[in-house]
Amino acid sequence: MLTVKDLSKRFGGLLAVDQASLEVPEGRIIALIGPNGAGKTTLFACIAGFLRPDGGRISFAGDDVTGLAPHRIAVRGMVRTFQITQPFARLTVLENIRVGAYLRTPDPQAATELAKSVAAKVGMESRLDMPASDLTVAGRKRLELARALATAPKLLLLDEVMAGLNPTEVSEIVAMVRAIRDSGVTILLIEHVMQAVMSLAEHIYVLNDGRMIADGAPNAIAADSRVIEAYLGRGAAARIAGGAAHA
């Protein structure tokens, strides 16, 4: 469904993303992980059209979408959420979600109904008239998810949707994401919360210093020495292996 090939993005002298490639097959949940500052959100921003890549190609559902404006990419069915939630603060929860619904229908009545059903899917049906600015962090994350969902996307780009949530809230969102995938939406997510990554992802890509250093099934990635070193520093893998030998 989504193919990213050799994508690069430079900011002045800094090469934030260096020839990164990844593949997201239809109907899967794929995760993108890596230490802070690795370039994950930059990569997302390039894929979703918010930044123009300096090199590489992005193809979505068979079409080349490299460098298209964000709204055009959203219309094609690839929608992103934001790491720091961006609610429409003075609008209510219902109005927020309805903006997403309006992408697929011009009729206010239909859009409202669609928004209500999406709200129910993420458990916000009791807070429809609450101004978005009154929501807690967990509420805003759900709202962000609901808004994107209302656009009936084919591929959802979730940027650290678990950040700032406690373990209970994380489990709830994990279940929600799985349900969304089961309803036919492909998912690519950036995540730091390993609990979520391990339980959700079918395939993991690891980005470090802008470069893709590994990819594979969750268990393989967890044991991969390059990944361990990216997070814990050089020689950590050997130390861990040595420590295990002595234990």
């Binding site: 918010f50 964000p70 219309v75 929608v79 992103r80 808004r147």
Partner: protein
């Protein structure tokens, strides 16, 4: 709108239609007073052009300091067609409206294509209005700084009315139209998208909204509406010049009535225009009664400036916003108590 609200609005409209008949029209029931009718005209007219500003500045969040550009274009296009080319003003009116829309589209395309937002957008609209003002002051077909005089010929077919009550009714109709447009915005996809753009343009883009196109659309609509007002103004007062039609004061007036009443609300401009109208009259009366004061007009404008600062400082959502907040707090309090 709820049933009770609809009845309320209908009652107000009925009152607005019937009240002036007490003072004017074919058979004034109390006493003939053009003063009252003209006051009513001014309030409704200002509410109308204020609403045109509200569409772009309030609903879409694109603050403009140069709406006088549209107002002046409307006034000048219809006046030039009428005075210099013999057109009937009723026929010139739609041309003026289209011209206003065109200018709005042009300004929008240039400014939004360049990614201008917030204060930069406000200032560039001001600059556009200035270009028009200086241009109108300098070219012969606008009669330059002398302005244009429309020959008085008070026949309805000529878009002039002997009895000011007809201008009043025209302003009332336009005001109601503007309220209807604003109401439509609150329930349509276009309006929802504008609200999204206003709140967070990037998030709106991520949801598939073509922010550029929607902003240009609203500025075009706003420009057309405002230009319609320009023509009415010219036909009522039979005189326009660049410093009246394209002035910063005119732009500020539209902005001010909307902010006082409640930016982004349906009735905001009407509430604001009423407040400003009353404040203006009171200040002029009080100022005029002081013998040393030669010209009390600037006094009311000083007051407007002070009111603007106070509104921004203490009630950025205007009077309607204040009532809404009080009511929400009261509802929350009773909900908590129960």
């Amino acid at each position: 709108m709820s049933g009770r609200q609809s009845i309320g609005v209908a009652a107000c409209v009925l009152a607005a239609v019937l009240l002036p008949l007490l003072f004017a029209g074919p058979a004034p029931l109390i006493v003939r007073s053009n003063y009252a009718v003209n006051f009513g005209f001014l309030v409704l007219f200002t509410a109308f052009i204020g609403q045109s500003w509200n569409l772009a500045g309030g609903f879409a969040g694109q603050t403009s300091f140069g709406h006088a550009a549209f107002f002046g274009i409307g006034a000048y296009v219809s006046s030039i067609l009428h005075v210099s080319h013999g057109w009937n003003p009723w026929l010139a009116w739609p041309v003026a409206i289209a011209a206003g829309g065109l200018v709005g589209c042009f300004m929008g395309v240039l400014s939004f294509r360049a990614g201008l937002r917030g204060s930069y957008f406000a200032l560039i609209t001001l600059a556009f209005a200035e270009v028009f003002r200086i241009g109108a002051n300098s070219v012969p077909f606008t009669r330059g700084g002398l302005g244009m005089l429309i020959r008085a010929d008070p026949r309805a077919a000529n878009f002039q009315f002997r009895d000011p009550i007809w201008f009043y009714y025209l302003a009332l109709a336009l005001c109601c139209l503007s309220l209807a447009i604003a109401w439509w915005l609150t329930r349509s996809r276009f309006g929802a998208r504008l609200a999204a753009i206003r709140e967070n343009e990037d998030a709106a883009s991520a949801l598939g909204i073509d922010a550029f196109r929607e902003k240009v659309k609203v500025l075009t609509l706003s420009g057309a509406m405002c230009a319609a007002g320009g023509t009415v103004y010219a036909q009522k007062y039979l005189y326009i010049d660049p410093s009246l039609a394209f002035s910063v004061d005119k732009s500020v007036e539209m902005l001010l009535v909307t902010m006082i009443g409640g930016i982004g609300t349906i009735f905001g401009p009407l509430v604001g225009a009423s407040v400003i109208g009353v404040l203006g009259e009171v200040t002029r009366e009080l100022g005029g009664s002081i013998p040393a004061v030669k010209n009390a007009q600037p006094l009311s404008v000083i007051l407007y400036g002070i009111v603007l600062v106070i509104i921004i400082g203490y009630m950025p959502n205007g009077l309607l916003g204040l009532f809404r907040r009080r009511r929400a707090l009261r509802q929350a309090a009773t909900a908590n108590a129960s």
